[in-house]
Symmetry: C2
Subunit: 298 residues, 2 copies
């Protein structure tokens, strides 16, 4: 368990040895489960550190797990060592907790001046700062690409349907828009239909954004024909890619279909797909494409 | 009525002579009424050209008016001449009609290749193109600033409350974000709270965006304290400012209060305020500031 062997699969360095435990700090949604399954497939042991108020019991309960409140920093470090984890991965939906709900232990109190500073920035800054805190304690922060490469979307079309030239142009427009938003630490997603920007994601998240477009369409306020428009997701240019990759899954595809879109385009090599088989099957049935595109293409 | 006299008030050229009729093409919302009232105060006669499906009868009915469908281009030009209007102003919420609902007359059919081309761009391109069509027919397209300067927000604080240094920093952040979005012909508004971008407006409009932030707060997904955060509105950099100025009013203030914001900052000299007295009184009661800021300040 303490062996230091490193294996390499394709171009991706596999961190940790077979059987070694990896700590997964779990935010909301189904993505923590998808990562844990991929970790299991790679022959390692996931230990879920479920954050109260964020993580979903139904996702976390299937694996070895501990529930923690935000602010229980000492307890987290104690449990991580007890479980024999040297690597930590953060995955799932997070949002800033109201300060009144944070219970701070002595470790957190010592970190407080730094945490307050971090809270004032965007998500990128908050996550990068928390990563530095863990690294100072001798832990290694790893990304999904390091431990679960088989749930990363690669370049090319998944499934039966392909983007049209119009879809490709909409994708390029959205990628350029997301790149322009980079300095502002804002959303990882936008929806463009026939060169018209329908939605830009910020605090609401991708599913809410898709629901909004479906609703605007229902109200007659978005009038592009059905099966026109692309949901595009890409990491922020300045983002620490170990910490916050964009993600899609079955729900993304269902919501994109309800929003009347033609398909979903994501940054190849830097986007997680959960429940890939189900998501692709749903896209095939609904007539949507899913495609991994080079990020630089804008 | 056909006199060609021009008057000047401050730096703003007043177009048209006293008593002359001005054609107001009305989209949705209350802003067409605010403009018509300002036109009346300036001693001219507003004639409302209410677009079916966009304009609200309760707003339009108080003035001389005609209802027209999109596509009734010949009829519009005939009525404008019959009413003695040489100037045309476009105001109110518009959205792209589904092509199936457009009834085209012969004039519109002749313009069809151009209109189809215009429909494929963003709103800016659509509006600029329609303006050129009107100008080719001998009409002059005017903006709100030309005929109703008293509903344009000028620089400085309206009402009792003032932005804090934090609010000013949030405003600068949002203005920089809106400037970066300029090339993409997307929203005129964003919400930033304590340096964190909560929402970016696209097809949904400002009221929907504010409602979303209120809802995310209710769900605990936006956790900045009450009375932190600023709604910022500014015209797109490339926008034809005769055609599509950002606008605020009583509803904007009420929705900003419900979203828990500290206030509303708008581009001075390039933002319409409707029902200014009521909007400022509501802001005073709710503890919100309203401020006109120089656009360049970012």
């Amino acid at each position: 368990m303490q062996a230091d062997a490193r294996a390499t699969v394709g171009h991706a360095p596999l961190s940790g040895a077979a059987g070694e435990s990896i700590a997964i700090i779990c935010g909301g949604g189904s993505f923590p489960g998808a990562v844990a399954d991929a970790v299991l497939r790679s022959g390692r042991r996931p230990v879920m550190f479920a954050v109260k108020g964020w993580a979903e019991p139904s996702v976390v309960d299937r694996y070895p797990h501990h529930w923690l409140s935000i602010g229980q920093v000492s307890e987290f470090f104690r449990l991580v060592r007890a479980e024999g984890c040297r690597e930590v991965l953060l995955i799932g939906t997070i949002f800033r907790p109201p300060l009144s709900q944070i219970r701070l232990d002595w470790h957190a109190i010592r970190l407080l001046p730094r945490l307050i500073h971090l809270f004032r920035g965007g998500d990128d800054r908050l996550l990068a700062g928390l990563a530095r805190v863990a690294e100072e304690r001798g832990l290694r922060i790893v990304g999904v690409k390091d431990v679960a490469l088989d749930i990363i979307v690669s370049e090319g079309v998944l499934g039966r349907h392909r983007p049209s030239p119009r879809d490709q142009a909409d994708t390029a427009h959205a990628l350029a828009l997301l790149a322009a938003l980079g300095p502002f630490d804002v959303g990882q997603a936008a929806i463009v239909a026939d060169h018209h920007v329908l939605a830009v994601e910020a605090a609401e998240g991708t599913d809410n954004m898709l629901a909004r477009v479906a609703e605007l369409r229902g109200q007659g306020r978005v009038t592009t024909p059905q099966r026109v428009g692309v949901l595009v997701k890409a990491p922020k240019p300045a983002q620490d890619r170990r910490l916050d990759l964009p993600a899609i899954g079955l729900q993304t595809v269902s919501n994109a279909a309800r929003a009347g879109l033609a398909g979903v385009a994501v940054a190849a090599g830097n986007t997680i797909i959960a429940d890939a088989a189900e998501a692709v099957a749903a896209a095939d049935r609904a007539g949507l494409f899913i495609v991994g595109v080079p990020e630089g293409r804008a």
